[in-house]
Each structure stands twice: as C-alpha cells, then as structure tokens.
Amino acid sequence: MTPKPSSVAELQRLLSEASARKARVGRIDLTSLNRVVAHTPEDMTATVEAGITLAALQAELGKHRQRLPVDPPGGERLTIGEVIDTHASGPRRFGYGTVRDYLIGLTVVLADGTVIKSGGKVVKNVAGYDLAKLFIGGQGSLGVVLEATFKLRPLPESEQFVRAACDTLEKAEKLIDAVVGSELTPMVFDLHRLASSGPAPLTVVLGFAGTREEVEWQLGRAGELGLKEACSLDYEAEFRASGVASHRWSVLPSRLAGAVRELDGAPFVARAGNGIIYHGGARVGGRETVPSALMTRLKDAFDPGHILPEMQ
C-alpha cells in the first residue's frame, strides 16, 4: 500500500524508520500535503506544499493574474513535487525555461528524516550552496520534496498560438531556420508529427505572449513566414496520452532535423527551439550524463542506506 502521510512529522517518521531498518521506500503519496502556504502577489512569489497539483496552484495564482510559467501536460494530476522530481516541462519552455528557473526555495526531508531548507523566499539569494538544484530532476533519490517557493510571472495580457503544416522535413527545417533568423521572440517554438496527422505530417507551432501590441506584431511577422493558422497546444496532451512510448532525446538545436530523420517516421513532439525531442518507436541517440563517480558519491552521502529510489 502506498503510504500517505498527513503531516510532516509523519513523513519524517516514515523515512527515519525506513532508514533505521534499511528498508526501501517506494512511492509516497503526498497529496494530503497540498496547501498554498503563502502567495504574496506584490512580491510575485508563492510557497506551496509538494502535494498540490500544478493545476490547483495555477488556479490559485490566477486569481491575482499571476502564474508559474511551467506547463508540462497533465497538470490536473501532476503534483509540484513530481514536477520538481522529474524536471517536467512543456511547450512554453522555449520562452520561459523550466521549474529550475523559478524555484527559489526548497524544503526537503532527507532519507534519515531530517528536514533541510535551501534558498528562501526572496527572488535573489546566494547565501549558502544552491542545494535545491540537486533535487530538480533528482527523481526523489536524494530526499523527499516537502515545500517549494517559486518566483512567478504576471499572466500575459495576450497569448496566441499559430501553426503551419509542412509536407516535408526540408520545408519544416527551412521554416524553423527562418524563425530563428527573424526578430520573433516566441514563447513556444515546437515541431511535431502525431500518429493522427494527415498527408502533411509535420507541424511547426509558435506561441507568443505579452502585451496585445507585441503579440499582434509578432502574429503579423509569423504570418509573413507562413505561420498563419491559429491553433492550441492540445497536441502535447494528445501525444502524451496516445500511449506511444515517449523517449527524450536532446540535441543541439541546429541538428534537430537530422535527428528527426533518424526517428524513421515515429511520432514525436519536439521543442524545436531547445532541441529536445519526445518520440515514440525505438530509443535513438546517445544520452549525456554527468561523471558517474560524483553521482555515486552524492547518492551515498545523502542516502547511505539506499532506501530512496535510484536515479534511472
């Protein structure tokens, strides 16, 4: 049965007992710890417990016309703890970055039940080491994220998405290069090919956010490049829900088209601006990793009994 602690003390006890017994801890359900601890609109910061879902947080922030501009699909189920553990991101990554760029304070329960904090609730802070970074994408392997403080962004006055269908990869590549060379500053810069796509299988998507004037000016420029058809970002959720195995492949952005060629027709969604491809079919391409000796030392130091999950 998945443990579901209802208090910090209970979570601490769960971990310290497991550490003492050297017993592995599986998934922990943190959805009972789901409060918005503080949202200070005038500071553009918010502190939340890890069990709150991304969608619930956005709803709360939206009341003050603010948001955490991180948009992985499935925000109705995905908790903030999971967003941090998996470094989850979505289509707006090109313009806004990832949760790494917004996390300014983190509280974590370590394997032995100790609670530690790093950072704080101010937007600029270099006191002490930036421990929080270790937990972003750490898959819960060094500790359990308990509470997070984010800097926020105002909701833009306007946000619009446009797309263009391309019947060949060469045309898509040309269009992507034209966008890169233009004065456009899109927030979304994607290329996708879904299993359901018709005869023009590749789609380039741009998204713009900002003042009405900024967005309108950009829509005009995008139109000149051939990106005219208004659209939504539903393709992201459709792809993730389609059940095709999703592998992540990160390449130099200029090598995106070459990488897509190697996918051999498999469906994919790519952050074209970032060079990140999520694809079905067989895994392609090598993966970059950090030096393994440091990885091992870090895991051994923070979780000596190896009771928490291992990094995959």
């Binding site: 600029k124 802070n125 080491y129 970074k133």
Partner: protein, 484 residues
C-alpha cells in the same frame, strides 16, 4: 579535515610550480603578492604564499595535482572584484589566478552559445556578439573587469536580473578541475543538447564560491538583445514614494528589465563625480528600464509614468537617445566609484528583502545610520529587493571601523528578520560567515558540508569560507589587518 595553520611553501615547491606554468607565470615576491592580498572587501587581508597564472586547463590540473600531493590549500581567483572576501587566502596557500585564460573560444550564433575561458571578462562576451543582436544577460556592475569564472563562483546578478535571471540561468555547462586534479565537464557540452541526465551538478557548483574546484571553461547561453529599450528616470521626494512605485509597477503586471533606486546621498555623490544632471534635492531617483519588442513598449512606458505620478513623482525623464541611456547606466554602475568623494572607506552590504518590505527596510537603515553616527547612502536593485547600503567610515579611526561593522551587522540581521537573505549576489565569503547560522539551521549547514565533501573531501579548495567555525585572518597574521 581542514588546514588550520599558516601554510609554508618550500623553494622546491616554487620551482615545481615554475616547471608547470613557466617562471613568468609564478608570483612569490611579497611586493608583487600584495595585489592578491584581498578582493574588494578590504577589511581583512592576507597574502597567499604564491600565485600561479596558468594558460591552459592542463596547466591548472597539473598545479592542482601538485597541491593535492603536498596537501596545500588552493584558492581559485578571477579578477578579484568580489565583495565578501571570497578569494582571500585565509591560511595562505597557492592562489590560481585565471586571468591569462581569458579567450573567447567559440561563438555559435545559430544555437546562441559561446564557449569561453574562465578568465574571460564578462563584458567581452556581449561586446563580441552584439553586432549579431545577441547578449550575455548577467551584467554585474563590475562587468568591465569581472570574469565569467568569477560569475560562476558567485552566481552573479546585476541590474537586469529582474527580468532575465542570474548566472545560473545563463550558464549551460563548464569544464572544471576537481581538487584532486581530475578534469571533468558538468552540464551541457558545447556540441550537445541542453538536457543532461543525472543530477544537476552544474547547478550545485554555480554559486559555490570556488570551494568545489577550479572552473576553467564555460559554455554560456546568449539571448536575443531587445529590439528596443525605454529607460525612464523618476525623481521622487522620498525613498518611500519610489519604493511604492516599484511595488505598483509589479502589481500592474509589468516586468521591466531593471528597476534601480538611488537615494539622495548617492545621487549627490554621482552628480559631483559624473555631472549627469541629477537633481540634488530629491529624496530618491528610480531608473525603470522597459525592454523588448518595440510594439507596445510606448504604452507600457506611459503606464509607468502614470504610476510614478500617482506616487507623487516630481518629474519623470525619458532617455531620448541611446547615448542618454548609456550615460544613465554608466552613472548607476559607477556609483560605488563616486563614493570616494564622500568617504575614504566604505563597507557595502548586499542584503535582500521581499520587495514589499523595501520601505520598512529603508526606514530601518536611516535609523541605523543615526544610531551609529555614520552616513549610509543607498543604491540598489529595487525590483529584486536587493539592497546595497554603503556604510561610510574612515579606516584610520578604529571606533569608526567598529561602528561600521556594527551597522552592517544590524542591517543584515534585519534582512533575515524580514524573511530575506544576507546576500543577493556578493556571496558569503569570509565577511558573512557569522550570519549563516542566523539564516540556516545546523541541519541545513550539515547538508551543505556534505555536498562540499563530494567535491572536496579534504576541504582544501578555498578553505575557511562560508561555514561557521572557519578561521579568520586575524588568527594567523594580525600584522596584515587593520584594527577591527
């Protein structure tokens, strides 16, 4: 383990270092070493035993390995513009200055990346790419001198962090030499994708104040330069009015590139030094810089002017030309330099408070100034809540030195009390060690020590920084210290 006695170095060791980097790359005469006795935090000073100036990563690695074999402290150093004693050789030791490794190695315009050596000066990067409409976002006031390696060590900010973030948001990866001499690469590689599997060790090293190893090459992210800037100068009767303006601009849903405030004392000093035309009787001036696409910027500027007026601004000036804008920023970035006209010495603080607490913090600083009988001008990153009170004193008067330190202490304690931080961009170094226990619990600090041991099990890299219990210069060589 921590080296806690004064280091001595044999002439054979000096010869061995000369064999690695050449005789002209080794400094060991006391006269020449004086340059390296402190950074811009001048209250504590200590000479390293020797300074080496390597030209390649391999030379750095060989020096570091030699030091490891002889159990010698190593102290990485960039341009020495840090403000917290971060590069102080507390016990002496071998200082590794990266200033000769200062080249821009590659610029990849298509992928918006540049690979530079750690000693490359911050401003050189933007200067090299601006003709192609790109820039490197972190822009500390010392950007004409400070190095990219130093930016990595302190996770440097600058006025434009409000919109663009700090160094950690703009460094993709780097090469570093671990304290045992091993050369590793962390984060994104120059020809690789931005996602890297495994722990974000790159992120953990950025801001570690040179305590994890010696960064030798850095891959930085370049961003598109704004199509247009709109730079406004609001003149206010009081710091309170200017602070409220900052909050109101944020509340209106705008994110300016920068919002910088200067109080009356600093404005007067700047005016005397640079003759910009600042009013001498205004309580505060606020620089608000909007940037981005030209479309819509005019309407945002009008909104900012309106908000300034609502907060009783006496006038709002708009920079009409790029030259006017550059002049304004020159005044702001050289503000510390203008202080020489007011006082022989100053102590800069670098506290942060939540933006909404700025008015309260400013009132506290005024009271603090009166209590300690010292003038404290203010120039700061208002949009981030990052204050830089400059406590003026004369180091020839021991009582003034004591009062300056006490005033600084009071101000930083107040920042912590208001839910802020004792440092927004300058780092802990030796200066703020005593505050670590105020801001963090013992468990927090233990976790940080654990992280340090992953990289430097012998605590030999830039020792006696950051953590309570570290030795101070006074423990070794009182002759190098002023009475404090």
């Amino acid at each position: 383990m921590q080296i806690d006695r004064p280091v001595t170095i044999s002439s054979q060791m000096v010869d061995a270092l000369c064999a690695i980097v050449g005789r002209e790359g080794v400094i060991y005469g006391e006269e020449e070493l004086l340059v390296y006795e402190c950074d811009a935090y001048t209250i504590e000073k200590q000479l390293p035993n020797v300074v080496v100036l390597p030209r390649t990563t391999e030379e750095v690695a060989a020096v570091v390995k030699l030091c490891a074999e002889h159990q010698l402290p190593i102290i990485p150093r960039g341009a020495g513009t840090s403000l917290s004693g971060t590069v102080l050789a507390v016990t002496g030791g071998v200082m590794i200055a990266l200033t000769r490794m200062n080249r821009i190695l590659e610029i990849d315009y298509r992928n918006r990346r540049a690979l530079v050596e750690a000693g490359c000066v911050n401003a050189w990067v933007t200067n090299a790419v601006k003709s192609r409409g790109l820039l490197f976002a972190p822009d500390p006031s010392s950007q004409g001198a400070c190095t990219i390696g130093g930016n990595v060590a302190t996770n440097s900010g600058g006025p434009h962090t409000l919109k663009y973030g700090v160094t950690t948001n703009h460094v993709l990866g780097f090469e570093m030499v671990l304290p045992d001499g091993e050369i590793i690469w962390l984060g994104t590689r120059p020809d690789g994708g931005e996602e890297v599997d495994g722990y974000d060790l790159r992120g953990a090293v950025i801001g570690s104040e040179g305590m994890f190893g010696v960064v030798t090459r850095v891959l930085v992210r370049l961003i598109r330069a704004p199509q247009m800037y709109k730079t406004l100068l609001g003149v206010f009767e009081s710091v309170d009015d200017a602070s409220c303006t900052v909050s109101d601009i944020i509340a209106a849903g705008m994110v300016p590139g920068a919002m910088e405030m200067m109080d009356q004392l600093i404005t007067q000093a700047i005016e005397a030094a640079y003759h910009f035309g600042f009013p001498l009787d205004a309580g505060a001036v606020l620089i608000v810089e909007l940037d981005g696409l030209a479309a819509g910027l005019e309407r945002q500027a009008e909104r900012v002017i309106e908000i300034c007026k609502q907060n009783r601004a006496r006038e709002v000036r708009v920079a009409k030309t790029e030259q006017e804008r550059m002049d304004l920023w020159k005044c702001r970035k050289r503000a510390f330099g203008a202080i020489g006209r007011l006082s022989p010495n100053f102590l800069t603080q670098d506290g942060v408070v939540p933006r909404s607490k700025l008015p309260e913090m400013m009132r506290f600083i005024r009271a603090c100034s009166e209590r300690h009988g010292l003038r404290i001008p203010n120039v700061f990153h208002a949009g981030d809540g990052n204050i830089h009170p400059l406590v003026l004193y004369d180091e020839r008067d021991p009582d003034q030195v004591r009062r300056a330190l006490a005033a600084g202490h009071d101000i930083l304690s107040k920042c912590v009390e208001l839910g802020g931080s004792v440092t927004g961009e300058h780092g802990i170094g030796v200066e703020k060690i005593d505050f670590m226990e105020k801001q963090f619990s013992k468990d927090d600090l233990d976790a940080m020590r654990t992280l340090r041991r992953i990289f430097d099990p012998e605590n030999r890299c830039n020792p006696h920084k950051m953590f309570p219990g570290s030795k101070r210069c006074a423990d070794f060589a009182p002759r190098k210290q002023i009475a404090a």
